[in-house]
Symmetry: C2
């Protein structure tokens, strides 16, 4: 099978934009992605499009994909909305890889878009909650912060993880995000800020929780046959792993790991023929700070129970051994849920093409993106490598 290549990627600003729509944000992201392709790209070259969107607030719940692509000037392109909660556009990337490998498409849009800030704070928990387990978690009053708070409490009980370690994740994310012009919360925070902020769901404070975000992101994924037409420096997607799990936390044997994440990672590593030690940097799904600590463990970056220590060590900071979430992550960059997976690929693209500015990792060769839906019901892991076409 021919390989799939990332030839460009771009995003809108992430934030609260009352004058924008899910369509206009996507159009901006598409423009930025197209502009990032070294040789440029015409809209006519796009063969297929995958749109991650949960449709928070109920906007165009049915059939948003054609509405989105048309607004981006891609009228008529075969397109599909993909939804796996917060992993929606991780799956856009997965489907785009399959589309180009299948021989049915040469250049594919793998994107996502979401508008969340125009939904009232009274109804937003409903629209977010519907990506959790509906019958036994949401109907019982549990929110996502509540679910991840239970995970954090269990991790603390089982491994002695400390809240200050969670706060180190927040401090690092904000430090990175302050260098990302697209970030929603592009400012630094101190350990004290994170520790002493308002409690959202014990033990998680405000700084342990990602914000509510409007935004869109687009990756452009091309077949081996045409990638060289667009860039001399294509990025090969060598690993694509995915797995699912029971949607409800209560369905799991353990609260301290996400089995679907481990399985997806194993599949991605196996496909790429690499292991965790071969990864130079990663974008992981830190919807809550405890999620990043679990990600370290699920992805094999450290042993089980060592995630808190790894966070505290500084090794996952920009100047560390394995920089994680140089974009600022969901925490600082923001989390427009349908667009997050695609936006992780934007950071991977910038890093591997040396366009990450002040937050550039020195000469990275291989990056990983980890996107989680719900509290682990659906996960994608992708591995991207600098590569010459046809190597």
């Amino acid at each position: 099978m021919r390989d799939a290549y990332l030839i460009g990627a771009g995003q809108s600003d992430f934030g609260a934009f009352p004058d924008e729509s899910y369509r206009s944000l996507f159009a901006t992201a598409f423009e930025n992605a197209a502009d990032s392709v070294p040789a440029g790209i015409d809209r006519e070259a796009i063969d297929e499009a995958y749109i991650g969107m949960v449709s928070i607030g109920g906007r165009q719940i049915g059939l948003p994909a054609p509405a989105v692509v048309e607004h981006a000037g891609l009228h008529g392109v075969p397109c599909t909305r993909l939804e796996n909660a917060c992993a929606a556009s991780g799956y856009s990337i997965r489907q785009a890889i399959q589309a180009v490998r299948s021989g049915m498409a040469d250049v594919v849009v793998a994107g996502g878009t979401e508008v969340m800030n125009d939904v009232s704070s009274e109804t937003l928990p409903y629209w977010l909650g519907v990506s959790g387990e509906m019958e036994w978690e949401r109907m019982a009053g549990t929110t996502f912060a509540g679910v991840y708070a239970q995970i954090a409490s269990a991790h603390m009980a089982e491994y002695g993880t400390e809240r200050e370690q969670l706060s180190h994740v927040a401090v690092k994310s904000h430090k990175h995000g302050a260098m990302n012009p697209h970030a929603q919360l592009g400012f630094e925070c101190s350990l004290d800020d994170a520790e002493n902020a308002q409690v959202v769901a014990h033990p998680l404070t405000l700084y342990h929780c990602c914000p509510t975000t409007d935004g869109a992101a687009v990756s452009l994924i091309a077949s081996e046959d045409v990638a060289a037409e667009y860039t001399d420096d294509p990025i090969r997607i060598t690993g694509a792993g995915a797995a699912s799990d029971g949607v409800g936390l209560f369905q799991r044997d353990s609260y301290t790991n996400l089995p679907a994440a481990s399985t997806a990672a194993d599949r991605a590593y196996e496909m790429a023929g690499v292991g965790p030690a071969d990864i130079d940097f990663a974008e992981v799904h830190d919807c809550f700070s405890i999620a990043e600590i679990m990600a370290y463990e699920d992805l094999g970056f450290c042993d089980r129970g060592e995630g808190g220590t790894l966070a505290e060590s500084g090794e996952t900071a920009l100047d560390g051994r394995l920089p994680v979430n140089t974009s600022g992550g969901l925490k600082s960059k923001g989390h427009p849920i349908g667009a997050t997976g695609a936006s992780q690929a934007v950071e991977v693209f910038k890093q591997l093409t040396h366009q990450a500015g002040d937050r550039q990792v020195p000469d990275p060769q291989r990056g990983l993106a980890h996107n989680v839906g719900g509290s682990g019901g659906a996960v994608t892991v992708h591995i991207f490598e600098r590569a010459e076409v046809g190597r």
Copy 2:
């Protein structure tokens, strides 16, 4: 690229089932699909699953796919919800084809599920309407019946199509559906019944409109490499076409055709290397009787404006030149919107494997399935052929 093969397909009964859920119906459909595979199939063989679901009524709006596959005994399988309104599971089939052609999966579930009858008649128009154009059609009060009534009126004005011709479509669908044990409205109707029933949206009467349906359907799509392990009589999927269009009818140049359907058909015919004259039978998206008449024209079964005449001629009846909707179609079999595309493949499978019982087309070699989202915003067309593996 290796080809994709349909090795099995099954569905639940279609109807109103207050004791079933979107999960239990899917589990039944999966069981029936697995049972249809000549050599049988273990759950462990399933590599990936695509679930078409619009989530009418708002049940598990986010992340339904893992909940569905887990309930069917497919815990952990990579799965994604696809949504393109009423074409959701036509796109499940498209993605499954890409998945097996990509080399990333050998056996894939292409399914769909929907529960619609437990939504109150006061809120159902909202949940259906959201698959129409939200801002300019739904908010202005237009329903889907209203949209297709406008199409019917325009077709009558432009081509002289008569309502009695629409009624012939309904009579044929019910005649076929009466022979389908899974059909929701499995009874015959007369031309008088159709003509004189209550008007839903002028000129469409009740018999020109499909019912509100609970149901699920599953196709099992396998790679060339493994299809022979499961059946001596695999069905090759030779054509897969898709296209999108503006979601709103007001965005089109004409009300009397669906450009995305013509484009999708052209792409499918080109990929398969065949034309409309080579099709032995077809399942088309007759959400309203006028939609079947447009489908005849969009698929090239007759010239523009001749669809009404073709419907009246009897040539698309079971004993005609080109039987259409031998399953009963959306009109009689029912239309659980996320599952309809996959259920079309169920009928194609039954016909091509000579398991269609009283409604069997004599020795068909090639069938076509045409699935429309909204009022033409997203369309898939697939062509299936009897084939020896590796021919």
